[in-house]
């Protein structure tokens, strides 16, 4: 009975952990081209990303033409991660400012243009938290860990709702001021038009009277 459980455990562990290696976002990168992927991150939230170039030939090491350059910058221009001519790497940082963070990948020029496949994963917020550590530190039950994760997700959803609500309020204010400005500018338009026409008329009348034509 124990050995059956053990084999079951081994089977599940193998199935459970093996596919993790192959699962992530994948895109193609041509030599000499840059591809940038951006993500909107709020301040003081943890973010983790990792990338690696797929080896076209399993037996030989990755050729230099397939090594890419990576740079992760914030919307204000601060660089949070930079790696040159690497096959794979990862970065983790806590976002100091909220905004769009951009990860740009660049492949150096090569005479027959090659296309490299890059596996990329970028996790923010709840997904970026190291749950393995949390489980180890607190010595907590598996189910409790899962429920903790769900609680964190729900909290982040709640915070996001607040953010959306604030933005909607700002936008409503913006629309309202635009509307009132259009109202006043309508009257101003009419006034400007009539005054310009009136000035024209008055000036030409004087001019012709001076010239003794009228």
């Amino acid at each position: 009975m124990i050995s059956r459980a053990a084999t079951l455990l081994v089977v599940v562990a193998v199935i459970g952990f093996l596919p993790n290696l192959s699962e992530s976002l994948r895109f193609d990168l041509q030599s000499g081209h840059t591809k940038c992927i951006a993500e909107d991150i709020k301040s003081n939230s943890m973010t983790v990303g990792n990338y690696h170039v797929q080896n076209p030939n399993e037996n030989t090491p990755l050729p230099d033409s397939h090594k890419l350059t990576v740079r992760v910058t914030s919307s204000y221009g601060n660089s949070y991660h930079y790696a040159e001519h690497v096959e794979s790497g990862q970065y983790a940082f806590t976002a100091a400012e909220s905004g769009d963070y951009m990860a740009c990948f660049w492949l150096p020029d090569h005479s027959p243009a090659i296309t490299a496949t890059v596996d990329f994963e970028w996790k923010t917020g709840v997904a970026a938290k190291d749950w393995g550590n949390v489980a180890k530190k607190g010595q907590i039950d598996v189910m409790e860990l899962e429920l903790k994760k769900l609680l964190d997700t729900v909290n982040s959803i709640h915070e996001e709702m607040f953010y959306l609500r604030d933005r909607e309020e700002e936008m409503q204010e913006l629309n309202r001021t635009t509307n009132s400005r259009m109202f006043w500018l309508g009257f101003l338009s009419l006034f400007v038009c009539l005054s310009v026409a009136g000035l024209q008329f008055w000036h030409l009348k004087n001019f012709f009277e001076r010239k003794k034509l009228l």
């Binding site: 124990i2 459980a5 994948r26 993500e39 996790k123």
Partner: protein, 218 residues
């Protein structure tokens, strides 16, 4: 003896469920934005057949001069064997959800028909709910885990909706700010141009009647 074996079994059960759940903890969900110049493709791997792939995308256009000929971008989803799962043309945003019949790499492509690059914000999520009939788990399977997985999937769908709304709100914001700029600055420029035009009119009429009439009057 019985107690010891029971405890070992219990820990095996725990390890089993832990490894099982830890695997599903890392199922992918990414919300990113890319610049689409002509064609941009992204692929994501679906691990189990029968998984639900859901997602959405919104085109965040700064340049809102879309002509009647070009109403948006084209979005396609291709299965690992090559047949089209979805093909929408001329959209500025779309939400999709489908059950993947087979596992493998699904390709999500955006095509931009015009030269101006567009920024697309997309979110793709592949979710798996372990079923009671899974071969890998036999006796030590807790139905609560199924419920937890379903709850997690429901929360992911809420998150997906939120990201869609947030992206649409960003685009709406651009439109509103552009409207405000047009209302203020273009109107003021309009007044200035009106004044200049009428000034030029006056100058022209003056010149027309200025010297020649006086000359003819002699």
């Amino acid at each position: 003896m019985d107690g010891k074996s029971c405890r070992r079994l219990q820990s095996a059960n725990l390890c089993l469920t832990f490894s099982f759940l830890l695997h599903f903890a890392t199922l992918s969900a990414s919300a990113l934005s890319i610049t689409v110049n002509k064609e941009e493709c992204v692929s994501e791997t679906v691990l189990f057949p029968g998984d639900t792939v859901s997602g959405n995308f919104v085109v965040i256009d700064h340049d809102i001069f879309w002509t009647p000929q070009h109403t948006g971008i084209r979005f396609t989803i291709t299965s690992p064997v090559g047949n089209q799962v979805l093909d929408v043309k001329g959209t500025s945003g779309h939400k999709f959800e489908f059950k993947a019949p087979r596992s493998g790499a699904y390709k999500f492509c955006f095509y931009n028909p015009v030269a101006a690059p567009e920024i697309v914000s997309f979110y793709i999520h592949t979710g798996h709910i372990p079923h009671q009939h899974d071969k890998a788990t036999d006796e030590h399977f807790n139905p609560v885990n199924v419920r937890i997985a379903e709850l997690r999937e429901a929360l992911h769908s809420v998150t997906a909706e939120q990201k869609y709304l947030k992206a649409r709100e960003v685009r709406h914001r651009f439109t509103n700010e552009s409207t405000r700029n047009r209302v203020i600055f273009y109107t003021l420029m309009e007044y200035v141009l009106l004044a200049i035009a009428s000034g030029l009119q006056v100058v022209y009429i003056r010149r027309l009647f200025g010297k020649s009439i006086a000359y003819n009057r002699i």
